[in-house]
């Protein structure tokens, strides 16, 4: 009987000196996986323009209907994104969002990506609706906050979409204005002689 006691308590005693597997959470944090699905961020181009073109594909992809986007047209005087439109209003409801990442897959411009931030608890429902200001990435160093004018953007001479844009992202609205009767389908014809490998497919 004594042997059994010694064995039993001995094990308990010994395990006091074993290394603990606990992460002391608020003080030390376990690294998340590199592609962890955390809070979203709306990215910017290096010159400060927003990547979001207000296409609402993220809102359509969202299985929980957590995203609200309202796109508006860029004008030559006030340009927010290099595309035709920009996301004028952008809201994500984190009480609906299930962090599945379908919005990230749907985003054609990589405007919407996810961070590794996960501490989102709050005690008011209103605190979970993240607006565009809260989601936008901070301005890159030296960048001017949008809106920019078209002349500014053109003077910068930056290439957007890694040069893959089917059309010049800036001036196509002018082409539309110049030749309204040839409104046909300029984008499609441009895609046909797409310089990309496997071009024209997507």
């Amino acid at each position: 009987m004594f042997n059994a006691l010694r064995k039993g308590f001995g094990l308990t005693f010994k395990s006091m000196f074993r290394p603990s597997s606990t992460t002391e959470y608020p003080d030390t944090r376990r690294d998340t996986a590199p592609r962890f699905h955390g809070r979203h961020v709306l990215n910017r181009w290096p010159d400060g323009l927003e990547k979001c073109v207000g296409c609402e594909l993220c809102a359509w992809a969202c299985p929980a209907d957590a995203i609200f986007v309202r796109g508006e047209d860029n004008t030559p005087q006030a340009r927010f994104s290099p595309g035709e439109r920009y996301g004028a209003d952008y809201q994500i409801n984190y009480l609906r969002c299930i962090f599945c990442g379908l919005c990230i897959e749907a985003c054609p411009t990589r405007a919407l990506t996810m961070t590794n931030e996960y501490e989102l608890s709050a005690d008011k429902r209103e605190d979970f609706i993240f607006t565009k200001e809260m989601l936008l990435a901070p301005l890159p160093e030296g960048a001017k906050p949008p809106p920019h004018t078209d002349d500014e953007v053109e003077a910068r001479g930056m290439t957007y979409y890694q040069g893959h844009a089917a059309q010049d992202p800036l001036r196509h609205w002018q082409a539309d204005l110049a030749a309204p009767e040839e409104h046909g389908d300029p984008v499609t014809t441009d895609l046909l002689d797409d310089p990309r490998p496997g071009g024209g497919q997507g």
Partner: protein
Amino acid sequence: MGLEAKLPNGILLTSVEKFVNWGRAGSMWPATFGLACCAIEMMSTGGSHYDLARFGQEVFRASPRQADLMIVAGRVSQKMAPVVRNLYDQMPEPKWVLSMGVCASSGGMFNNYAIVQGVDHVVPVDMYVPGCPPRPEMLMDGILKLQDKVKSEQFVERPKPGESMEDFRRRTGWIDPDPSVEGVAAAQFAPRSGTRSGRRDTPSGAEPGPSQER
């Protein structure tokens, strides 16, 4: 505690408040209570890697009568809602509710007739933890925030037995006795018309966009 009604505000009560809140926050026992997949993460939070016991929550009580904190982990179906309420009613005061995961908080992606769109339709929620399911750190973050909230709680007067909440609020000055003012407040919380049956609860005051006309 009844004491504060008889005393003027003073240093005695603030110290007692602090002391009692420290005790309440430091040993808040959750009820063992899982409704769906979030419960798996909740169990993992209690396990050795995350160890909820560090915050005085080592025992998940199997009976609501010994529990202080109700972690609603998972989607609440219409059929489960009365049971959840019953469990909540059985818990002794003071008690807190933490809504874990988006399904419990707002219905999440299950926007259908079977799921209660947010457990706050049934019980008062003190802390919402988003995520699907929230990782253990997210839950612990919510619990720590709830503890901070409890630590700053003030002793307030409670409704007398049989007194309605509205009468109580009017007596203690929470709401203005003027009924017109109350009407404005009620209109604020009434479901917004225009969107289809409140399906999209994202836009706060935004006009309906094209995405709603799928």
